[in-house]
Amino acid sequence: MASEVTYNEQELVYLLKERNNQAFSYLYDNYSGALYTIILQIVKESELANDVLQEVFVNIWRKIESYDASKGRLFTWMLNIARNASIDTIRSKSFQNAQKNQELADNVNTSMVNQVTQLNVDNIGLKKVLLKLKPEIRSLVELAYFKGYTHEEIAQIEGIPVGTVKTRIRSGLLQLREYLK
């Protein structure tokens, strides 16, 4: 068997910018799962998540030139692309219309399969770590990170001052840092 090639981040970025297919394949094999998970946690439907993941990797391939290593790790860059693409998707009109229909359908016939998938997704990764936070803090972080709401929007939804939203999210993120260590 061929031994598995591993790249350090520098090499990987270099090769990606050189449009190296093998490096891209490596990138996909090593990061598609992590990105797919975050996408699933935001869009919550596997069909849609497939489309978003495809869009994300196409964008990574096309925009790798603009990645600046001095501003952060490659994964962080990709994670933000994945999160933004997912949030754009759930914010789109077509998605929201579909959601309404889904809610109607769910009222009539609750899909067990969907629930199982969602449980799975909520119990891993970042979401799992967030479970350790106090509920009043966790809900704000989730609204900000998984729904893409601005602090102002969250303040409206929750009926609390913007300053409080910001303070609570910041403290939640600091705790998150400790839990991730």
Binding site: S25, Y26, Y28, T37, W61, S70, G125
Partner: protein
Amino acid sequence: MNVQEYISSGIVESCVLGLASADEQLEFERMCATSPEVNAAREAFELSLEKQAKEQAIAPPAILKNKIFNEIGIADTDGKKTAPVSTVIKAPVVKMGWLRYVAAAAILLLMGSTALNLYFYKQYQKYSSQYDALVASQTQMAYDNKALQTKLQGYESAMGHIKDPGMAVIKMPAVAKSPDPASMATVYWDTKSKDVYLMVNNLPQPVSDKQYQLWAIVDGKPVDAGVLDMQEGMTFAKMKNIPKAQAFAITLEKHGGSDIPTMSAMYVLGKV
């Protein structure tokens, strides 16, 4: 706000996760660039986030990879296979420092090799053109040689005829009214085959639309014995077969010869 306060404000995590405002993001980038501590805090959080995300990941459907690669327009090569290109690039950067020197040496060798290649290519071009010139001159020489051979064969055959004991030699000196009093030609007449050969001893080069014509005088009448082509430098030419003649003469006629000789343009005459 000092650096420690900045780090423990949660701004680092907020920026990494993309939750900060544009202004905060800009300030954060500035802080990272100027403060190694902020930069270290950022990297530590990024790493732990990445680790967590990779540890518990749901793999996307296998078919998706191919779909994505197709859209991008590249082949789905297996990233796990040993790739010669990537290992070459990879090795010097990471673990083994001495490979840097090997790589440097390899690059130097490559440059040297490239230079030599260029040099040899120039040499090759030079010799190639010299070779072409040699081939051309060789061809020219072979052609000249062939021409000489042909000429020599002509002389040999002429000599053969002249030496033939059965050959009658009829000298034709200039006639009294010859345009050129120094004219002289000789007819060699094979008494057996009756073939006639003409040797020009001295005749002025005719103008281009004129030709010397040999006449055999048979029973007082001139009979065409052929025209002489002096342009090719032939000094010994086979003429027409003449079975019977009392004399031979040469006149200058229009190109291709005439039916009747122009008496005023008679140069030489010789009796058999």
